[in-house]
């Protein structure tokens, strides 16, 4: 393949973040690199920048959310932006207003970007085709949760020193997991090999078509063998379309325990998108153990979302000076 090395390649910055599937490895790396200085910034005593001063970010959470909503709100605040909040409990939704009417109402208040979470897969795509402003997907149905995958990748890169060629085991309800889909799209860009494990009804064979090098393994010990990264998915009682298996069965067969984790590589790390249910999908000894990255993931979420908001909402060119490398306002 003939590649010109004389001309500096210009990366296309995506206008929206609707999913990981449409991103290139270069774009992913760009966001992770841009998140890096924001990680340092979280330790600064004065956590406020003026980068997005005068900008407004609409947070449209049509589905209940605690951590993602707070994370986006905090990321916006630390960049100096104002936010407007729409929450699932709010009245317009209960009055039967359609998604697009609600979103157009928000848009009429002239925000500079909108963060959306919705229970329908494709809802961010649907509104992005109808709005002028950048749309950031904070989780849509069982489709994608791109900022979760970015913050997971940042965590993995920090801990493992690389993203390339990892052996990744994902445990739980793969069928209904947007976190798993986004992570598979992201890590497969860097050559990951995936082992998926969970109850058969949540592990359809079509999952193997999502990316190259995906296999399904029924037994958790076998699934963990040789893993560099273990992702534990939440058992989503509120999003189960299929009859769930008995929780006792789940614990018996699929809970990540210290004994089972020993089948993975000694330096394997454990990720969980939260909220965790101790004693269900994960043994507290693992959740609180040295291999767990659960709280780092939360902090990294802020850094990733600040990088995202900075680049999509400010309209700054990709090579603009990084705001966290300057003195905070």
């Amino acid at each position: 393949m003939a590649v010109s090395v004389t001309a500096k390649s210009v990366m296309q910055r995506p206008r929206h973040l609707l999913g990981i599937e449409s991103l290139t490895a270069e774009q992913i790396t760009f966001f992770l690199d841009q998140a890096k200085p924001f990680q340092e910034f979280q330790r600064h005593p004065l956590k406020k920048l003026a980068t997005l001063r005068g900008k407004t970010v609409a947070l449209a959470f049509f589905e209940p959310s605690t951590r993602t909503r707070i994370s986006f709100a905090t990321a916006a605040a630390r960049l100096g932006a104002d936010t407007m909040n729409l929450q699932a409990e709010s009245s317009s939704l209960k009055k039967g207003e359609s998604l697009i009417d609600t979103v157009w109402t928000l848009e009429a208040m002239r925000p500079d970007g909108i963060v959306i979470r919705h229970s329908a897969s494709g809802a961010p795509d649907f509104i992005a085709r109808r709005l002028e402003i950048p749309v950031m997907n904070a989780g849509d149905g069982t489709h994608e949760h791109p900022t979760q995958a970015l913050l997971d990748a940042l965590t993995i890169r920090d801990r493992k020193g690389r993203l390339e060629n990892l052996r990744v085991t994902i445990l739980g309800d793969l069928l209904h997991s947007r976190v798993a889909r986004s992570n598979i799209h992201l890590l497969s860009r860097f050559g990951a090999q995936f082992t998926l494990c969970g109850p058969a009804m949540w592990l359809p064979k079509e999952l193997e078509c999502l990316a190259p090098n995906i296999r399904r393994v029924a037994q958790i010990e076998k699934a963990l063998e040789g893993a560099d990264v273990v992702m534990v998915l939440r058992v989503q009682s509120e999003r189960i379309h299929e009859p769930p298996i008995s929780m006792d069965d789940y614990i018996l067969r699929y809970q990540l325990t210290p004994a089972r984790l020993r089948y993975a590589e000694p330096d394997a790390i454990v990720l969980h998108p939260g909220p965790i249910i101790r004693g269900l999908e994960i043994d507290p000894a693992v959740a609180d153990g040295p291999q767990s990255c659960i709280l780092e993931q939360v902090t990294n979420g802020l850094a990733v979302r600040m990088a995202l908001l900075f680049h999509l909402v400010s309209g700054a060119p990709p090579d603009a000076p990084h705001p966290a490398k300057e003195t905070p306002a």
């Binding site: 897969s121 947007r178 079509e206």
Partner: protein, 427 residues
């Protein structure tokens, strides 16, 4: 009098295919032959065009009464005429449901007053299409229904389906079933497969259709009834139909243009790709093409299902199933089946004429004395479909902007020209 002059007259009933003139006197065909002289007749120049018996659509939704915001008999049949159809069978899922003679009569009367083409209502099998008790089928038959179906709300129990078949067989009516095991399909919005997994959309397994086709075929064997499978979409379903026919059963099936054109891999987050049955797998589409070519499939039917944007232009999960189909059916047949050499032109004409007629137990041919229901089309005219220009009241189609080779040119119903493509139209 109208003289359709110089066209290539194709008559699947007799297998004839020759240049001829067709003279129409009043509502009927007066003469067919070469070089007819009729100095008083209005001349309809069909040189270079195909002159075929009037197309029949076995499956559409005209939405009247009750959902006139999406379509009316007037607008729907105008779109049908533009698509080359001279008769359309409208499904009973109106509001109220067409489950009694009074509703059937009102549809027939509205059609007389406002329709461009013949409207042949299909009556509900059960009261309110609720799948509980038999509807007033004989009463509806006297009022004008041509078949019975609980389309969209498939009869869940084998017991009621058996009763419907036994009763309709005694009345001489075919039973049309939208085959779907709703327990398997519940909550699904597209075909279950790699694409549904990727999009995170809940899948409808292919087996949810074929399980029900299998049940119906067994019941057709039990009762001897005429069974017609609506919008058949999978290989396994077609295998059931073929096996039934090999056993001498009166089982027929139809395929929609969207199912022989598109597959599940085409689905994007655009609700114009949401229909039921959903777009099938590549292999299932191959099976449909085989059936269309070898006679396993009897008819092409549109399942024209107009929906107002307020309900259809929403996020994928929330949208109703269905797309419009009159405008593009013939053009898709020409583009996807004939120009690609899957089937002959005569076979395509058959799928729109004698095929559906056989399902209804009627004849369809161009013959002296027969009603002058005639579809005239071009296999070559180039045009671009613009949904915004459709006569239908709705715009929900995945084919907006598609370029076609071949188009309906004129539609004649009972000796009346109900549609003529303008010479300059969008070519």
């Amino acid at each position: 009098m109208i003289l359709v002059k110089g066209g290539r007259v194709m008559n699947p009933a007799s297998g004839t295919d020759a240049l001829a003139d067709v003279l129409i006197d009043g509502e009927r065909i007066a003469k067919i032959g070469a070089g007819i002289a009729a100095p008083d007749a209005e001349i309809l120049n069909a040189a270079g065009l195909i002159v075929a018996p009037g197309f029949i659509d076995l499956h559409c939704h005209l939405r009247e009464p009750g959902q006139e915001i999406s379509e009316t008999i007037e607008t729907g049949t105008r779109a049908a005429a533009c698509g080359g159809f001279t008769a359309v069978c409208c499904m009973p899922n109106t509001q109220p449901v067409n489950d009694n003679a009074a509703v059937t009569r009102s549809i027939v009367e509205r059609a007389v007053a406002s329709s461009s083409v013949r409207v042949w209502p299909i009556g509900a099998a059960s009261i309110g299409s609720k799948g509980e008790a038999l509807a007033e089928i004989a009463g509806m038959q006297d009022a004008g229904i041509v078949a019975v179906s609980d389309d969209g709300r498939p009869i869940a129990t084998a017991k009621l389906m058996r009763q419907v078949m036994e009763y309709c067989d005694s009345l001489g009516l075919p039973v049309i079933d939208h085959c779907e095991d709703t327990s398997l399909a519940a909550g699904g919005v597209m075909r279950e497969g790699p694409r549904s997994i990727r999009l995170g959309l809940k899948g409808i397994p292919a087996a949810s259709e074929s399980i029900c086709v299998g049940r119906d075929v067994e019941l057709a064997a039990l009762t001897g009834a005429r069974l017609h499978i609506a919008h058949l979409s999978t290989r396994a379903s077609l295998d059931h139909v073929r096996a039934a026919r090999a056993n001498g059963l009166a089982v027929t099936c139809e395929v929609t243009p969207h199912h022989f054109t598109l597959i599940d891999e085409d689905v994007v987050y655009d609700t114009n790709f949401k229909m039921n049955p959903p777009l099938a797998s590549r292999d299932d589409r191959e099976a449909l093409l085989e059936g269309i070519a070898d006679g396993g499939v009897d008819a092409i039917a549109t399942d024209h299902a107009p929906h107002h944007p307020a309900s259809k232009d929403v996020e994928f999960d929330s949208a109703p199933f269905g797309i419009t189909g009159f405008d593009t059916a013939l053009a898709l047949g020409l583009s996807e089946l004939v120009h690609t050499k899957h089937i002959s032109l005569m076979r395509l004409v058959e799928l729109f004429t004698t095929g559906p007629a056989r399902v209804l137990g009627i004849e369809r041919k161009l013959a002296v004395g027969a009603p002058a229901d005639i579809t005239i089309f071009s296999t070559e005219a180039k045009w671009t479909f613009r949904a915004a220009e459709s006569a239908s009241r709705s715009r929900n189609t995945p084919f907006d902007g598609r370029e076609f080779r071949g188009a309906p040119m004129a539609t004649i119903v009972g000796g009346r020209v109900v549609f003529r493509r303008a010479a300059s139209a969008n070519a």
